[in-house]
Structures are given as C-alpha cells and as structure tokens.
Symmetry: C2
Subunit: 305 residues, 2 copies
Amino acid sequence: MNFQQLRIIQETVRRNFNLTEVAAALFTSQSGVSKHVRDLEEELGVDLFIRKGKRFLGLTEPGKDVAMVVDRILLEVGNLKTVAAQFSDTDSGNLTVAATHTQARYALPPAVAEFKRQFPRVHLTLTQASPAEISTMLLEGAADIGVATESLADTDDLIAIPYYTWHHAVIVPQDHPLTAHDSLSLTELAQWPIITYHDGFTGRPRIDQAFAEANLSWDLVMAAMDADVIKTYVQLGLGIGIIASMAFDAQRDQGLVLLDSASLFPASTSYLAVRKGRLLRGYARSFLQSCVPSRKSLLERLGQG
Amino acid sequence: MNFQQLRIIQETVRRNFNLTEVAAALFTSQSGVSKHVRDLEEELGVDLFIRKGKRFLGLTEPGKDVAMVVDRILLEVGNLKTVAAQFSDTDSGNLTVAATHTQARYALPPAVAEFKRQFPRVHLTLTQASPAEISTMLLEGAADIGVATESLADTDDLIAIPYYTWHHAVIVPQDHPLTAHDSLSLTELAQWPIITYHDGFTGRPRIDQAFAEANLSWDLVMAAMDADVIKTYVQLGLGIGIIASMAFDAQRDQGLVLLDSASLFPASTSYLAVRKGRLLRGYARSFLQSCVPSRKSLLERLGQG
DNA sequence: GATGCTTACGATACCCGTAAAGATA
DNA sequence: TATCTTTACGGGTATCGTAAGCATC
C-alpha cells in the first residue's frame, strides 16, 4: 500500500470513476492507475469498485467504507505538511479563500486588505464560486476557507462560523414611484417586476419565504448571481431590485435609491467555513480571527489550539 | 513521503529514539532507517528530532506535532485494513484481549467461552498484563480490547466502558479469630497483618483510601498481583487477605473463609477499553456486546455504526 | 468508431542492505 | 572500547510510461 494508490482511490471517486480522467488529474498514466487500483484491491482482499466488464461504475460496499478512511488518511497527510510548513516558514505560503460574489465584493475587502498588510509573503487566492462549489472546494481541499450565506452551515464535515447578519433591501431608480412612500410593504413590492438573486445565492430563500408567508405571488423577471448585474438592470428600468443591503453604495450607485426594508425580509447570516479536521496554517487562523475578532472560542472549536 | 517513513517516525518515538532498535523492530537496516528519517525531514523542511552530534535525544516542537499526526495516519491505515478484512472474511481473524490476572481468571471466562463458541475461526489471544501495560498495548495497537480496574478510565485516547462493579472482601484461614465476629470493622482488620494487591492493581487505591479515611495505620506484610498468590499466603498463616470478592470460590478455596466486607471498602468498577478511533472487527464488537449486553449506546459511542 | 480499461514490456528511480567510517558515551 | 549514526555503494525491485490489445458504448 502506498499514498499514490490512496490518492487514486480518492480521485476515482471524485472523477466519477473515469480512470482516464484520474490519470490526467494526478499527472500519471492510465495504465499505472489501473494497475494501482488492482494492486490495492488485491492487497486488501476485496473489490473496491463495481465493474461492468472493463468499465467502472461505482463503489462496492467495502469500497465505500474504504473510501471514507482513505479520505481521512489523505486529510491527515495534508495536515502533516501543514504542520511542517507552519514551522519551517511561518509567514509564507498560500491561502485560498473561496467566496461568493457578494462576499468577495462587499464583505471581505477589509479583511483581505488587513491580511495582505499583516502577511505580505503569503500568496492569497480569492476564488469566486457558487455556494455549492465552495462546499465542494472545502471538502476536497481546494480551498482553505469558504465564505457564503448558503449551504455552508448545512454541510456535515464543514465547520461554519457565523460571520455577520444582514438584511435584504430594495433598490429602485431615482424617479420611481416607490420612492414617494414613507414605508414599504410586501404587498406593494409584489406589484412590480422584481430582479433579485438566483436560487441558492445570497439569501434568496429568505425572499421566497417572505412572499410565501404573506401569501403573495410575485413577478420575478430576472435572477442574477450578483448585485452588480441586478443594479444594472434596475437602472435600465426592467424592474425593482432586491439585493443585500451592504451591496449598495450611495456614492457609486448614483441614479439608484435604496429603500429600507429590513422589516420585510427575515435576516440572513453569512458564514465562514472550514473543512472539519483540516489543520489551518497560523495565518489562516489569523484571517478568520480578523473576520470575527470576538470569537476566540470558535477557533478552539476547530480543534486547533 | 511513504508509509515506511511514517512507521519509522512512530517507532522511533516508541523506542526512545534508538534507531538501531527501530530498525530491529521494523525488520530493516539501521542505514535505511537513518536515511528515511533524513529524507522525511528534508521533504517536510523541518528537523523532527533533537540531535546531539549523532545521537537522537527527543522530538523537536514540530516533531511533536508531526508525531501526533503520524499516529493518526497509521491508526487510520490500520482501520483501512480492518474494514477490508471485515468484508473479505467476516468471521475469521485475530482478537487480542489484554487483561489483568483478576479479569482473565474471574471475570472473562464466560465471555471467552461464548466467543469461542460463536466465532470458532477467530484466533483469540488473551494476554495477561498490568493495567499500565494494557493501556500501552491498546494505544500502540498491540491489543484490541483491554480489561482492568485501574488506569483505563483515566487515559485520554482510550474509550472505557464500565464492565461490572464489585467489592473487596476479606479472607482468613478457617480457624481464624475473625470468623467468630458477626460484623467486621476496619479497626479490627487493622490489627492483623494484611496481604493484598500491589499498587495499581485490582482496586488497591480503594483499600488505601478506606484506611486513610478512617485514620488507621495498617500492616501490609505482602503485596501481590493476583488473588491466587494472596490466598496461598493467607493459607500459610502469614496474614489476612483482602481480595476482590469474585476471586473467592468456596468450592475450590477450602480451608479459607470469606468475610463479607462490602461496607468497609468503596465499590470498585472494572472497565473494558478500546483505543479511541480504532476500528474494531465485527467479532470484536460482539465480544464487547456479550460483556455488556445492555449498552447498545456504548458501542455507538465508539463511532462504529 | 470513439472512449476507456487492461496487459506487456522496457527504462528509470527508489528502496534496501552490506560495509566502512565517524561520532558519542 | 562499545554503541550508535552516517555515508557510500551495489543489487534488486517497484513504479512509471509507451504502446498494443480488447471491451464497452
């Protein structure tokens, strides 16, 4: 048994049992991959994969158990390297943060700036992705820290730390009739065409929930993944927008008006998340700390004294 | 990085940093061991061991962290093999139970008999050892299950399951003056020379505790590791014995009398223990189950569905 | 016929063990 | 001096990659 075999098992599961892809992903030959799989199966005395002729279709029952343990082993191997790197070169290395557009653009900039100041020798990669992709990246080790409003708190094997709480707000063009109102109601909103976030993005479930609970049908004319797109089309007069309030900047967004609507929609919480059991470099912990300065205990909850 | 290197790191710590011993334990050459250590240190970029000239003295700070992770990796590697073996050959294999004399002789026989009946193809090894040795064996993977009254419940990285509770009892020769008494007191006991268990064996702390709390000094004339030795010398008239009550058998131990003394000493609890994070074969779980039939939940606490 | 897995085979690199040298107690 | 680690070197083996063969879709 060797590490390459374990990596191949893991990658085979991730790549939908296509050994050719696995070989490409691990920068080696198909033939080698094939042999490694056979060798390991022989050594363990059980078939790990369901085969139909020469095709791989999935994991056998023992294969499922083995794959779980393999994941843990490779996770710990990563931790080994992390521990060593932590000592050999404390303040240099890589940090990959995967975040949604909303987070990357409106929440993270201060933390990122602070981080670059504090750790100039760390290469920081800020990857933009959907909440689901962020989950996957964290689980597969492709990212160290994830930031999103959706999906992170529900996933086992992730540790989610509440980051901040915010409300949705309505934006309309400067001359829009709604600007005349003193206070907004959902019923009024529902009478206009609405542009807001896609399913699974930036608190969208809370918008659906608010209208559903009020028993209102609403006219969603467009769904986007980020507030900038929404704002663009609101400005074009396609409809009124519902965005995260922190995405509005009176300075930059001239021609648009933000209408307070904190009371209309339930609050949303954005989360920072890391993979359970994955050791973080010191500077990664600092990054989290600078995002949520008060929560000393939460870092301890990561199991990383 | 490869598994052999990790095994060497682990074994180097266990063998007190003597590479020659490590090589012998792993059935390989010193030179290879030496090179592997250097190679891994080079790959990780940190020294793992404190050296004085060419001698190894201990672990560096990063070495300590690395050694912990290495232990976890190798533990999981063992689990990998266990998982596979579990499927490839369900009811054959090995089971090593490490137990003290008291447990092996007076508590375990029914469970062992039941086990042999149920799993005739499993090779069962019952190793007799001191509580401290049992701990070590469990931690190092040399035993699957440990049984003892002392030390198992206090050790982190072990999961201890209460097995049964018992009391100490006094044994005296048939014609001994104490047999005339209706009820025994500690004060009376303290007037006789006493033979009982060694420190760290079979509830000895509770005996010390009882006398200490009563402010009595007592005359320990002999300390043994098992009840059979104690009984022998009690029979010879060297003193009165304090043993675990289940170690007395009226049939076998003719010439001796058991005096009830449940009220004199605090109750003792014997434990079954397994290494935290170590996967058990199905038959090993059955063994535990047959020892504590009622505690379904405790087996779940082992993290082994 | 295109894609994907297996087998065969030759080159390479890695791992191991012997032996000698150097360091420590 | 005896014990222990390092270095040097040669032999063996496992791993890898190319290429051909064969099954699946």
